[in-house]
């Protein structure tokens, strides 16, 4: 065999959790055992690649034989031998393990800019990035363009901050460029804290050099000579890959003194976050780097004027920076050809929850929400009914089914009471209780509130208390109005983005699912059957076969009944754990 063989194995956090490194070992072993060594090994390489999006089907493996690519899904180590034997040696791909139609459908409507190389290149090897045009943008910028030219391109491209606020990146750079100061900083904000979001982690794990290249270009344009990447300690793999990438960049003279032989010095340090959600807010992030409690301060002055140690500081999100090299390489017009009039380019979303194809996606701004859910996401899991999609994490809102046709961009989502945010998208189905979802987010924001300003510290606590009482059946008349009132106050008077947006999940769920709140308060019922205190379990006599399965699993011996006779649940003993509901094969346990 003298054919070129390339094997690519997904080794993002998702891939690794599904057993990516074991699969890789199996491939290495099998190649050795099968004696595909002498001439093949020269042409053959095994690469680890970053996340390619469809984490639900991990471990994903590409076999590229003579330039023909076959992608396999759900690969386990024991399957490797057959793949090597039938596909690599005999040239017949193992069809039954190959990806199916939904894998292609998942990718068809996506447009990849930031993720274009994620999942294709080896994130731990700079050569791999250089081979696909990596650092070309930096070379172009440093050798032929002034900072002003660069800023002009970024402005023209229409790139806006991808961390959530959507501030035009070029404008931010320009302000910083115009500041006169002996010292300026650029910070990459990788403190991705929204529950249900993993875009930044995947970008760093899949293509760390793009972020670094973007940062160097940002530093050149703004005049910063020191950079920080502030990254969550909960992302060990991303930190490790970033460290490796920084070292490689230094060795290749992309970082350090006199970069690429020009009079331009810049280096990047990694700062590990210490576990505080509020540190994603830029002034809190700065406080944290300075070694203080990570509490925000009032703005203005904005960090571009007075930031880290009182010096002008540009703070950009990971995804924003990773876009920069691609914009420089392909031009501002190319980038702004995607998207809508006001929201240009593409956006990475983490599509999760009750959706068939959950994973990482990149779509042009302005794509209808329906296409994301049904075409890319493949619809709702287990054929349940779609109820809502939650965007923007704890700062965002829920979008109900009748608004599925809205476009996904900064303005349209804001209009319906949600936000694009950092890009989390959690799909909810008929079994999710919206009051409970609102409570979930408030629990999060309440515990993450730094406590500096009163509206947020006490307001979120009071909001949570009201939600807790509603979900445990003690809701009072007027609670909905009280929630709305208080929510608007917290929004209007909080110091930073955390408090200003924390009530959004409540306001948007009340706006679209007021009836669920009312059912909890007046009827003391949870329509979705989630809130435990409002539930009761009963045996539906006509379906009960008397098999005793429920009786056996009941932890509180609340179920009685003879074999083959209809069973009964004693409501006084029932602890509402739901074990009987899950154990019954005949759907004879009803909850309501």
């Amino acid at each position: 065999m003298k054919n070129d063989l390339l094997i690519k194995i997904c080794m993002g956090t998702g891939g690794l959790a599904a057993g990516g490194s074991e699969v890789m070992d199996a491939f290495k072993k099998q190649l050795r055992v099968k004696g595909i060594k002498a001439d093949i090994s020269k042409h053959c390489s095994i690469h680890r690649v970053g996340c390619r999006g469809l984490c639900a089907k991990d471990v994903l493996v590409d076999i590229i034989l003579n330039n023909v690519k076959t992608t396999y899904q759900f690969i386990k180590p024991y399957m490797v031998e057959r793949i090597i034997e039938e596909h690599v040696i005999n040239g017949n791909p193992v069809e039954e393990w190959a990806v199916t139609e939904d894998y292609h459908q998942f990718h068809n409507k996506q447009i990849k800019v930031v993720l274009s190389d994620c999942g294709n290149i080896d994130p731990e090897d700079i050569e791999s990035y250089l081979n696909v045009g990596g650092y070309d943008a930096l070379k172009q910028v440093i050798s032929t363009m002034s900072p002003k030219d660069t800023i002009e391109i970024i402005k023209k491209s229409g790139l806006r901050g991808r961390g959530g606020a959507g501030f035009p990146t070029g404008v931010k750079w320009e302000i910083c460029f115009k500041e006169t100061s002996s010292q300026k900083y650029i910070i990459c904000n990788a403190d991705e804290g929204d529950p249900g979001a993993f875009m930044d982690r995947s970008v760093i794990e899949g293509n760390p050099h793009a972020v670094i290249e973007g940062m160097i270009i940002g530093a050149y344009s703004t005049g910063a000579d020191k950079g920080y990447v502030y990254i969550r300690a909960e992302y060990p793999l991303a930190v490790e890959r970033l460290k490796k990438a920084l070292n490689q960049a230094r060795q290749n003279k992309f970082l350090g003194k006199n970069i690429l032989g020009k009079k331009f010095d810049f280096d990047i340090k990694i700062k590990l976050g210490a576990g505080a959600f509020v540190c994603g807010e830029e002034t809190a992030l700065i406080a944290s780097i300075e070694g203080q409690r990570g509490m925000p301060r009032a703005k203005p002055p904005f960090p571009v004027y007075k930031g880290l140690w009182e010096k002008p500081t540009v703070i950009n999100n990971v995804e924003t920076l990773a876009n920069v090299p691609y914009i420089i390489r392909n031009g501002a017009e190319w980038y702004s050809s995607f998207g809508t009039e006001k929201s240009k380019g593409t956006k990475v979303f983490a599509l999760t929850g009750k959706i068939k194809n959950s994973g990482l996606i990149e779509v042009p701004m302005g794509i209808p929400l329906r296409e994301i859910i049904y075409d890319i996401g493949g619809g709702i899991e287990n054929n349940m009914a779609f109820k809502a999609v939650q965007t923007g994490g704890p700062s965002g809102g829920c979008i109900p089914a009748d608004l599925l046709d809205i476009k996904v961009d900064y303005e349209s989502l804001a209009q319906v009471g949600s936000i694009v945010g950092s890009g989390g998208m959690v799909v909810l189905d008929e079994n999710d209780c919206m009051v409970n979802i609102a409570k979930f987010f408030l629990q999060f924001t309440q515990s993450e509130s730094c406590g500096k300003c009163i509206p947020c510290r006490i307001g979120t606590k009071r909001l949570l208390e009201i939600l807790e009482r509603i979900t445990c059946g003690k809701g009072r008349e007027g609670d909905i109005e009280l929630l709305e009132d208080l929510a608007n106050d917290v929004k209007a008077t909080s110091l930073c983005g955390l408090g200003q947006t924390a009530p959004n999940p409540i306001l948007s769920t009340i706006r679209y699912f007021r009836d669920e709140y009312e059912a909890h308060i007046t009827k003391k019922k949870c329509p979705a059957g989630v809130c435990k205190d409002l539930l009761s379990y009963v045996v539906i006599a006509e379906f009960c076969k008397g098999c005793g399965a429920c009786k056996r699993v009941c932890p509180s011996s609340a179920i009685s009944g003879e074999k083959k006779a209809v069973h009964k649940i004693d409501p006084d003993l029932c602890v509402k754990c739901g074990a009987c509901f899950e154990a019954c094969k005949f759907k004879a346990i009803g909850k309501g």
Binding site: L16, A17, L54, E192, P195, R201, A274, G275, G291, T352
Partner: protein
């Protein structure tokens, strides 16, 4: 790291040149905590006192910064740290059940450590593997898609390492 050997100027690097001494000392605090915790597994009181003397910063100030961040702990932790993800995706896919099951199994509540210091049970906001929800991590390994079967395996994995 021995706190006595801590070199503020080296730890803070070049930026130290432009800030005053007090800011420099404060600037290394979080970094120092991370190093201490790496060695001891937590931030022992007497080490923080040494740090306070070394940096001439009041212990109260040191404690105020350390206690702000969830990452830092003031009591010893288990050999295995199990974190159950409570992110949105995990929440709607039954993270609560996973947590309850582990709490029952090991007889500790979230945030607590077993008496033999074998295991600490915690929750985490989001580990960013939402595609595999519900998820838990044992030290740095991620376990995904935790259904009933996987839960038993998870418990087994935790116990195995305890020996």
């Amino acid at each position: 790291m021995r706190v006595e050997d801590l070199d503020v100027n080296e730890m803070i690097g070049d930026v130290g040149k432009i800030i005053c001494e007090h800011d420099r000392k404060k600037g290394v605090l979080i970094h120092a905590f991370q190093k201490i915790q790496q060695d001891y597994g937590y931030l022992p009181g007497e080490v923080l006192m040494t740090l306070s003397k070394k940096l001439s910063l009041p212990l109260a100030e040191i404690y105020s910064v350390a206690s702000f961040y969830k990452q830092f702990h003031f009591s010893p932790r288990g050999k295995k740290v199990v974190r159950v993800c409570m992110g949105t995706a995990c929440h709607v896919r039954g993270a609560k059940n996973v947590l309850n099951a582990l709490e029952d199994e090991f007889g500790i509540k979230q945030g607590e450590t077993t008496d033999d210091l074998a295991m600490t049970l915690e929750t985490v906001g989001c580990v960013g593997c939402c595609g595999l929800a519900p998820v838990a991590t044992i030290n740095e390994d991620v376990v995904g898609d935790i259904g009933k079967k996987k839960l038993e395996l998870l418990v087994k994995a935790i116990k195995e390492e305890e020996k």
